[in-house]
């Protein structure tokens, strides 16, 4: 006798994903899709696909999708959520989309405490256009527009979005996770689920920043890329919760318990 303990989620369509081998987008797509399915909101979820590699997300998520201009996801999400507060609205964005061209939309949606969820994939590079420097590219990191490594004198410093948005008074949920190892993937799913629950309970803006790997544009093998996440990315972008809507009233420990998170325990 055997039991299927891991099956492809119905939150994704059947179309094979076109991302490069080892790319973190696929893992993150699965996490978001599983959370949508587990929360039972698939029939009333609207997703927003960005401009960038994950523009294809509108083919992969098995729910209504919209594809707005580069960086404008939070603005479109605002319009949709205000008209359909009964729907769950999430905006899937990369680092160029969210932290560069869409910075104003991101900051103001957070400041208005819009009840939307942002899935922010930070892989420190512009993937779709061939590996140009992003606002999150690490100091010294090579890209096609910083061929000698990012020089702070000419290109400034990387932006840490969670810390940045945590400075706002507006309530919300801000967390940074990664998907480079199984344990991190499980934590990431927990964070995504919590973010969606924050939206569903009307507690304000939620953003999950996910440190992801881009083997192709980092010029690394998939295995080297996950090592790069561990050794280079995470030291600069520390993982953890930066803001949670429960902190003030009930204390951090209780807050963690308040939201029930399904955690897989059936492995050795």
């Amino acid at each position: 006798m055997e039991k299927k303990v891991f099956k492809r989620t119905g939150g994704l369509t059947d179309i094979p994903m076109r991302y490069c081998p080892g790319c973190g987008h696929g893992i993150i797509h699965r996490l978001v899709a599983e959370v949508i399915e587990e929360l039972g909101v698939q029939k009333r979820t609207i997703g927003i696909a960005p401009v960038g590699c994950s523009v294809f997300a509108d083919e992969y998520f098995n729910c209504d999708m919209i594809q707005p201009p580069h960086g404008r996801g939070p603005a479109v999400a605002t319009g949709m959520k205000r008209i359909r507060p009964d729907c769950v609205v999430f905006s899937y964005q990369g680092d160029g989309d969210l932290a560069s061209i869409g910075m104003a939309e991101t900051v103001h949606a957070a400041a208005r405490a819009e009840n939307i969820t942002i899935i922010f994939v930070n892989n420190a590079i512009y993937g779709m256009t061939g590996g140009q420097m992003a606002p999150t590219t690490l100091i010294g990191m090579k890209s096609t527009t910083s061929p000698f490594g990012r020089d702070v004198k000419r290109a400034g410093y990387p932006i840490r979005m969670c810390e940045f948005l945590a400075a706002l008074d507006a309530p919300g949920y801000l967390v940074r996770v990664s998907v480079h190892k199984p344990a991190n993937v499980m934590k990431a799913k927990k964070a995504v689920k919590k973010a969606f629950q924050v939206q569903m309970e009307g507690l304000g803006f939620s953003m999950v920043e996910i440190i992801s790997q881009c083997p192709t544009d980092w010029f690394l093998t998939p295995l080297q890329a996950v090592e790069y996440v561990e050794k280079q990315m995470i030291p600069y972008y520390p993982l953890g919760e930066y803001k949670t809507p429960f902190k003030k009233e009930e204390g951090k420990k209780e807050a963690k318990d308040k939201i029930e998170v399904e955690f897989r325990t059936d492995f050795n």
């Binding site: 055997e2 891991f6 081998p21 080892g22 973190g24 696929g26 797509h29 199984p182 897989r264 059936d266």
Partner: protein, 76 residues
């Protein structure tokens, strides 16, 4: 015995599952798949515990995991 199924149409041979497996069950095949990649295959199927770690890191959602249930094991 627990086992996994790799969807060869989806697998791009990135190898993340190979390093995720604590028991060395997986490796990349030396034969091309129809999509032109070396897909992941079970090289030590007897060691699979059905822990799902490989599936958790698979970027292409190409892995499904079947775990042997205890009851069935007792019957054997």
């Amino acid at each position: 015995m627990s086992r996994i199924e790799v969807d060869e149409k989806r697998c791009k041979g990135c190898g993340l599952c190979v390093i995720a497996c604590p028991f060395g069950v997986l490796d990349l095949s030396d034969k091309f798949s129809s999509t032109g990649y070396y897909p992941a295959v079970m090289v030590k199927p007897e060691k699979c515990t059905g822990c799902t770690l490989c599936a958790l890191v698979c970027p292409d959602v190409a892995i499904e995991v079947y775990k042997e249930t205890k009851k069935a094991g007792a019957e054997k």
